[in-house]
Homo-oligomer: 207 residues x 2
DNA sequence: CTTGGTATTGGACATTGTCCTATATCAGCT
DNA sequence: AGCTGATATAGGACAATGTCCAATACCAAG
């Protein structure tokens, strides 16, 4: 074989993600991933010494996917803001097996450590975006307390919508479900929108 | 010993809940619970054949706690509505080890089956409460779609606030944190409140 | 004081994550 | 070509876990 280390590691991650997305993080073992790839469990641990390393690598993939697909820089309109979240939502569906289980993923010490800072930045980014939208005349001037609450709501919805959806197993996660939770974000924003903001918000849902 | 079956089963549940609340569902094993009670693991499985049975019993406890502490019947004001949720929030903190991990709890087939119906009732109860508040002149008349979205937001926040809080490990879950998430519920309600509704909402937070 | 059900022990089993040593494979050098 | 060192894979071990089962202890009723 001409498999380089990179190749095999990638194949392991691909297969592991696919299995985790269908069967769930807790029900997918190293042995199952290995078997599916026609290799021995010991070989998987050669590339990823522990399951924690594997999950960490997958989360890094999600982070990198977000970095490459979600625009950064100043947010100029409510539509832009929501479009960024729509892209993040899409990315989350590709890693749904991990994202639904965020609470357990974060129990891995290395992930908790790594994402402690990311977490703070995440909240900070939302708060900043809201400030920018206020400056742009898209949102009304509101108190810091209300900004904090809006931030918290957006954070909670955007992080746990897949978990909530997973509790209604009769409906698979698809674009319609995703749009439903996008609407919840919009609903949270709407009361603090200016007239211009409301117009932009409407455009975010013009199919 | 004069331990009856009921006694020992209760002691097992008490200990298991305490351990799960501090160390998390996935990190607490039958052996640990048994050891803490000075008995053998096999004896725990005598009362609860599988971990699933144990978790099922604990969830039944939570359900029963809610049944005995959260008023039922028609909701007459926004304050009443929020007070019910405040009580549910309190109850959730007593079972936080399970509630933060709802996604995994529901992976147990028997729990998924049992709570499928409870889940539907839960959503239905929120929707009905909103209708009642509209009838009471506490909330504005809003479309079914908006009712559905409000229901979804309330459901999501009230189910996953502990999970969100657990991702900020620097702050332990306490009354202040609980009130923060209560405020998120209130913020979701406020835009659809009538004048009377807003007054009642304010009373819900008068310490 | 026997008896029958309840409670508890002690140990087995399969499965899991992890680890370690031996072997295979292959690229680069002479 | 043949050696060599690093990389890759196999094979099997280990401890811990959930689960199960047979043997024993206990205890209340007859």
């Amino acid at each position: 074989m001409s498999n380089t280390k990179q190749d095999t590691a990638t194949r392991i991650l691909d297969r592991a993600l696919a299995l985790i997305n269908t069967r769930g993080l807790m029900d997918v073992g190293i042995r199952e991933v290995a078997k599916d790839l026609g290799m021995r469990p010991g070989n998987v641990t050669y590339y990823f010494p522990t399951k924690e390393h594997l999950v960490l690598a997958l989360m890094e993939r999600l982070r990198s996917l977000n970095a490459s697909t979600v625009p950064t820089g100043e947010v100029r309109s409510v539509k832009e803001f929501l479009d960024r979240y729509r892209q993040m939502f899409r990315n989350q569906t590709a890693f749904v097996g991990l994202v639904v289980n965020m609470v357990n993923v974060m129990r891995y010490p290395s992930l908790a450590r790594t994402y402690r800072t990311i977490e703070i930045e995440r909240m900070g980014a939302i708060t900043q975006a809201i400030s920018e939208l206020v400056a742009q005349g898209q949102l009304k001037h509101i108190s810091d307390v209300r900004i904090a609450r809006l931030t918290s709501t957006i954070s909670l919805v955007s992080r746990f919508w897949t978990s909530e959806a997973s509790l209604h197993p009769e409906q698979k996660i698809n674009d319609a479900v995703m749009e439903h939770y996008m609407r919840l974000l919009a609903t949270a924003l709407k009361p603090v929108c200016t007239k211009a903001g409301r117009k932009s918000l409407k455009e975010a849902f013009a199919s």
